[in-house]
């Protein structure tokens, strides 16, 4: 088998054509855009679909994804204005809107934006008090977006949204906050208990006052009743001493009887002249 010169030339030509076409036809998938450099300088951007470049001159230098890019901003410690340490991380959605700027404006735009978000987040939260930072995510979000906007223009990126994923106090801070909350509850419990005791004391005193008032009333009424009884007896008896002596004598004897009934009073001395004894009780008026 021998090769004629013509055959070899044609074979070489075939190889040339095949390689040229292989390198010249570029199929860019949807969602990507490719940057073409001609002799080292930017020449053009290949859009999705079938594209032709000139091999040997043109070179596809970068293949860029133009879909939204999810950027995970790693967790970092941030110190708030009141010196509390909190941990935050964020997630950002960016999109390349100008492939040329994204490629030639910065070496690695994902890394750049991620770092930018981290530092900006730190400065925004650093201006806030702990409680404020924990409760105003939306404010942080809005300010984050604002501060990144200027750089985003230079890098041909659009920051679609930045979300604070997590914002939580550090472990020691969390412990301190829990202790504070527990102490607060305890304080409330003590106060409530003291208030209960105070209320009880007041009520008791009021009860005592009320009962004393009623006792006094009762005594007064009793005295009045006695006075009335005595008045009536006096009125009924008039000037006569006989009935009075009788009543007194009766009572006297009854008292003596009761004394006699007691176990420890065996000897009861009765006055012989009972009448005189009773009269004596009146202080010998008659």
């Amino acid at each position: 088998m021998e090769f004629s010169a013509g055959f070899v030339v044609v074979l070489a030509l075939l190889a040339f054509v095949a390689v040229t076409i292989a390198k010249g036809v570029r199929i860019v998938p949807q969602g990507e855009e490719w940057i073409v450099e001609r002799l080292g300088k930017y020449h053009g951007t290949l859009k999705p679909g079938l594209n032709i470049v000139i091999p040997y001159l043109d070179k596809v230098a970068y293949q860029l994804v133009t879909k939204d890019i999810i950027l995970d901003v790693q967790e970092q410690e941030v110190i708030t204005r009141d010196n509390a340490v909190i941990l935050t991380n964020a997630i950002a959605f960016i999109k390349v809107t100008d492939p040329v700027k994204a490629v030639y404006g910065i070496t690695d735009f994902s890394e750049a934006i991620r770092n930018l978000i981290m530092t900006t987040l730190r400065s925004i939260v650093g201006e806030m008090e702990l409680d404020e930072a924990l409760s105003s995510r939306d404010k942080i979000k809005a300010r984050l977006r604002e501060s990144i906007a200027d750089e985003a223009v230079d890098w041909g990126l659009t920051v679609k949204s930045v979300e604070i994923q997590d914002i939580k106090p550090s472990e020691s801070m969390q412990r301190a906050m829990e202790m504070q909350a527990a102490a607060e509850r305890e304080r409330k419990a003590v106060v409530i208990r003291a208030e209960g005791a105070k209320q009880a004391a007041i009520l008791e005193a009021e009860a005592r006052l009320e009962s004393a008032k009623r006792d006094a009333n009762a005594q007064v009424m009793l005295a009045e009743a006695s006075a009335e009884a005595i008045r009536r007896i006096t009125a009924a008896i008039g000037d006569q001493t006989g009935p009075m002596s009788y009543m007194l004598g009766e009572k006297y004897i009854q008292a003596l009887e009761r004394m006699g009934e007691k176990d420890n009073a065996k000897v009861v001395v009765l006055p012989a002249d009972l009448q005189e004894a009773v009269k004596g009780l009146f202080g010998r008026r008659s």
């Binding site: 088998m1 090769f3 004629s4 013509g6 055959f7 044609v10 074979l11 030509l13 075939l14 054509v17 095949a18 076409i21 292989a22 036809v25 199929i27 949807q30 969602g31 855009e33 951007t45 859009k47 999705p48 679909g49 079938l50 594209n51 032709i52 860029l64 133009t66 879909k67 959605f93 999109k95 390349v96 809107t97 100008d98 492939p99 977006r145 990144i148 906007a149 200027d150 750089e151 985003a152 223009v153 230079d154 890098w155 041909g156 990126l157 659009t158 920051v159 679609k160 949204s161």
Partner: protein, 147 residues
């Protein structure tokens, strides 16, 4: 070196199938070229090897050129995922006046690029309340012109 006609046919079919494995869209033209040479061989069995390869080369090149004549970068079915995105051409309401050196604010009926309201720039002064059309996206600013 002799090629039989069936070698060209088989080779051509192999190349066309290979197109599926290498989605580069050029192998298929060489496959079709090989098929053409195979058919020619059936008609003129006395074709020299050089002529065969030359025919193959020329036929393949012609098919590629022909294809690119027929094929035109026609309109995109969807602009989702492209750099300009589907934002260009959207009409919004200017809620903050814009001037060449003052940023304005534009509001859209439905959220665009993740937000309803965007800071905008423009080459001419446009009063608030006008309808504007997005002509470019520049980072976190939209460039607008009167709609």
């Amino acid at each position: 070196m002799t090629f039989e006609w069936w070698m060209w046919i088989v080779g051509g079919i192999t190349l066309i199938i290979a197109e599926l494995a290498i989605p580069a869209f050029f192998v298929i033209w060489f496959g079709l070229g090989a098929l053409l040479v195979g058919l020619l061989m059936l008609l003129f069995p006395e074709l020299s090897a050089t002529a065969q390869v030359a025919t193959w080369t020329l036929a393949s090149l012609a098919l590629v050129v022909l294809w690119f004549k027929v094929f035109k970068q026609t309109f995109q079915k969807t602009r989702i995922g492209t750099a300009d995105g589907e934002v260009i051409g959207e009409v919004g309401l200017l809620v903050g006046a814009v001037a060449p050196f003052a940023r304005g604010k534009v509001r859209f009926q439905r959220p665009l690029l993740g937000s309803e309201e965007w800071v905008c720039i423009a080459d001419t002064a446009i009063a608030a309340g006008e309808r504007v059309r997005v002509i470019a996206v520049e980072g976190s600013f939209l460039k607008v012109s009167k709609a």
